[in-house]
């Protein structure tokens, strides 16, 4: 059952949001105004309140398009003890994420239209936010035979990816890309040289040397990216790099874009707000794939987001249970939950790194929606009323056990954060409301 918020607008289909700081990533503007929603669609800006409309006073807080989060891992099917479609949906609603774009690394993997339909159908009945699924590029993510890209596209797959499993065989990848190009499908790659990164769990450098952890040079990312760019140039496919995390890769990304390749790049919020030193005394909640980078790299990534060279910020939501994290660092599972912390963590870019809110929302909402061909991510007339109302300045200390996600593996436990979601709307329905 879809959880209904207390003041759901089911009885009235017209909502008038007023006294709102409107964050418009499309126009790159931020101003006080009002917004009218009818039947789940934005119909007018700065209009007077129509009669019979449900008026919502935003109290001068920010109203922005809901976040479109590319690359969310949901444990369903296969690992519901880590995260189910229901808990992921609840977490997303609390985090201001109105569209979850799900990774296909489930068990079984989403590599046939049947699994995709199963997931989509279950998601519809269980989650208050939109869920779109990606499908695998190769069967069972094994890197050998391509998935049924055509059928999967018809069934609603928004992109094709083997997740963080690098496809080593360039011939297979080239064929997948050619085939995908023919169908206009989007491929999401994980740029990494498999040879260099094999067995590594840290970024090579002073810190990894001191801790005695097997490490990989950030050059492995550049090499993986360069290889993928060669194949993209060869095939002409649309390509998105899931996470670009190293300064060394940026010139190659800039070149690829300048050469007219259909390339975009993303980064997880963790690589924008944390660095390798946060691992400290082998804290496994700070273990990521790729591993956290140096502060120099982190700074370069923040600037790349500000410049628009990196297009998309995502949470890379990866739920892990306590057992898989309470292990020696090398053996521990990788990744962190992020749906609920994406927005407050992104506010660090606003408060401490000089990015403005429309800039941040381009990367959180407008760009990912555009990349996947969704009509959300905008505050314009005709766009769906997927909205987040938030206070960018509200301070709080994060308690991981207060998270709605089933797994509590967040690196921000006990962290002082600013930025709170006050309400989340999906197609005009309130799916989350903050209460003291």
């Amino acid at each position: 059952m879809v959880p209904q918020a207390p003041h759901s607008s089911k009885d009235t289909d017209v909502i008038w949001f007023h006294n709102a700081r409107l964050i418009d990533p499309e126009q790159s503007t931020e101003r006080l105004g009002s917004l009218l929603v009818e039947n789940g669609v934005i119909t007018e800006l700065d209009s007077p309140c129509p009669e019979g409309a449900d008026a919502v006073d935003c109290g001068g807080k920010c109203l922005a398009p809901g976040i479109v989060d590319i690359g969310v891992q949901v444990g369903e099917p296969g690992a519901q003890h880590k995260e189910s479609l229901r808990t992921a949906g609840l977490a997303a609603a609390k985090g201001g994420v109105t569209t979850i774009v799900m990774r296909p690394d489930t068990t079984p993997a989403i590599d046939t239209p049947e699994v995709l339909e199963y997931v989509t159908r279950r998601a519809e009945a269980r989650t208050p936010v939109h869920i779109r699924a990606m499908a695998t590029l190769t069967r069972a993510r094994e890197g050998r035979e391509m998935s049924e890209i055509g059928f999967l596209l018809d069934a609603g797959a928004v992109a094709f990816t083997d997740g963080d499993k690098v496809l080593h065989n360039t011939k297979v990848l080239a064929r997948c890309m050619s085939y995908a190009k023919g169908l206009g499908a989007l491929i999401i790659g994980h740029p990494q040289d498999g040879g260099l990164s094999d067995g590594a769990c840290a970024t090579s450098g002073k810190f990894a040397s001191l801790r005695g952890l097997p490490a990989v040079s950030p050059m492995a990312e550049r090499m993986g990216f360069d290889r993928d760019m060669g194949l993209v140039e060869m095939t002409g496919v649309r390509y998105h790099a899931d996470q670009i995390t190293s300064a060394r890769t940026l010139p190659a990304l800039e070149r690829a874009k300048a050469n007219g390749l259909k390339v975009t790049a993303g980064i997880s919020i963790h690589h924008l707000t944390l660095n390798e030193l946060d691992v400290g005394d082998y804290r496994t909640f700070f273990k990521f794939t790729p591993p956290l980078r140096s502060e120099t790299d982190r700074g370069a990534m923040v600037r790349a987001v500000a410049d628009g060279l990196i297009d998309i910020i995502c949470s890379m939501h990866t739920p892990q249970d306590e057992e898989s994290k309470r292990l020696p660092f090398e053996e521990a599972a990788s990744g962190a939950v992020g749906l609920e912390t994406l927005l407050p963590a992104a506010m660090r870019l606003y408060h401490s790194e000089g990015l403005d809110l429309p800039q941040i929302w381009r990367a959180l909402s407008f760009n990912p929606a555009k990349l996947l061909g969704l009509d959300s991510g905008r505050l314009s007339v005709g766009a769906p009323a997927d909205l987040v109302l938030f206070d960018p300045d509200a301070p709080f200390v994060l308690d991981r056990f207060a998270l709605r996600s089933k797994s509590k593996n967040t690196p921000f436990d006990g962290a002082r954060m600013e930025g709170r979601v006050l309400a989340t709307y999906v197609a005009g329905n309130c799916v989350y409301e903050y209460k003291d």
Partner: protein, 322 residues
């Protein structure tokens, strides 16, 4: 109070005065160990468990002897072939042992940081007997004691650590300790066996033995840890010995009175010429083993004192709250 640690997990958390405190106390135990009455009672009534997840002969024997000479009840657990094989996690093993109320836990594990993880979950003093490629603090302390006794000081010495630095926890603990005590540390080895950005620790890096040994007071050789290698770090044993093995010709570049050290076990003819290892005028390898027992006695003694003090405080707190 010059020693404030509750565990000995590495050299990194230690203050230079804490290092000196351990070494000074160890000197007393050297004297005790050389007497015919080798029994102390410092650890009487205490239980020491040696948990070695990685096979070890000399370190385990050294810790066992150290504990017994101080009067502890010592138990050895060869973890390499026990419960972990049955699927039990490290944490569960730790909790199981913790329930037996040990006072000192000596742990060796193949993963960097595993001993730190374990120390969080138990309420006794934990000594790191080597974790992955991270630290091996008692080895560095025994090396320091050996150097101090041979050279009369532990500062402003030129010390060359040679060989497989990348895979060596001994090298890490040593370069941190020697750096803290304000020595000039040089690392010598092929680039494939050198950790990344190690220069940033304030050491000099050489890939030529002769340059690296030039004027050194101490030459510390490391075992070429073949069992740790994925394969292919050096072309062959013989080429390695030719370029990096310590022989009389290369040693001649060091100071005339330079001492030669090796943490053992040695690969004669791989990293060190047998004749050098046996040269009683240069090699202090046997003395290192002797210092090992003394340093471990000192470390366990100091940790036990802190443990007793902490427990006494706890008891008083509980008594006060009725």
């Amino acid at each position: 109070m010059a020693f404030k640690q509750n565990h000995l997990l590495g050299i990194e958390p230690l203050h230079p005065t804490e290092i000196t405190t351990i070494l000074d106390l160890a000197e007393e135990y050297v004297a005790l160990n050389r007497s015919s009455e080798k029994h102390g009672t410092t650890l009487a009534g205490m239980t020491q468990i040696n948990m070695f997840f990685e096979a070890s002969t000399r370190t385990q024997a050294s810790f066992e002897l150290a504990g017994k000479r101080l009067g502890a009840d010592v138990m050895n657990m060869a973890m390499a072939q026990s419960s972990l094989k049955k699927g039990e996690t490290l944490i569960d093993t730790a909790l199981t042992l913790n329930a037996m109320h040990p006072d000192l836990l000596v742990v060796r594990h193949g993963r960097s940081g595993a001993v730190n993880l374990l120390a969080e979950k138990v309420n006794c003093a934990v000594l790191n007997a080597g974790d992955g490629k991270h630290e091996h603090p008692t080895q560095a302390l025994l090396d320091a004691l050996t150097i101090r006794r041979k050279k009369g000081r532990l500062h402003r010495l030129s010390i060359a650590i040679c060989g497989d630095i990348a895979h060596s926890r001994v090298a890490r603990s040593n370069l941190i300790l020697l750096g803290k005590m304000e020595n000039r540390v040089r690392l010598v080895g092929p680039p494939t066996l050198m950790p990344r950005d190690v220069e940033e620790f304030g050491v000099e890096v050489f890939d030529d033995m002769r340059e690296g040994l030039e004027g050194a007071d101490v030459v510390m050789m490391l075992r070429l840890q073949r069992e740790r290698m994925d394969g292919g770090f050096v072309p062959s044993e013989r080429e390695y010995f030719h370029r990096y093995g310590l022989d009389a010709e290369k040693l001649a570049y060091a100071k005339e009175d330079a001492i030669v050290m090796h943490p053992g076990p040695m690969n004669r003819g791989v990293e060190i010429d047998g004749a050098i290892a046996d040269d009683i005028n240069r090699s202090v390898i046997q003395e290192q083993v002797e210092m090992g027992v003394a340093v471990r006695m000192a470390a366990m003694d100091l940790l036990a004192r802190n443990l007793r003090r902490a427990r006494e405080r706890q008891r008083l707190r509980e008594a006060a709250h009725g």
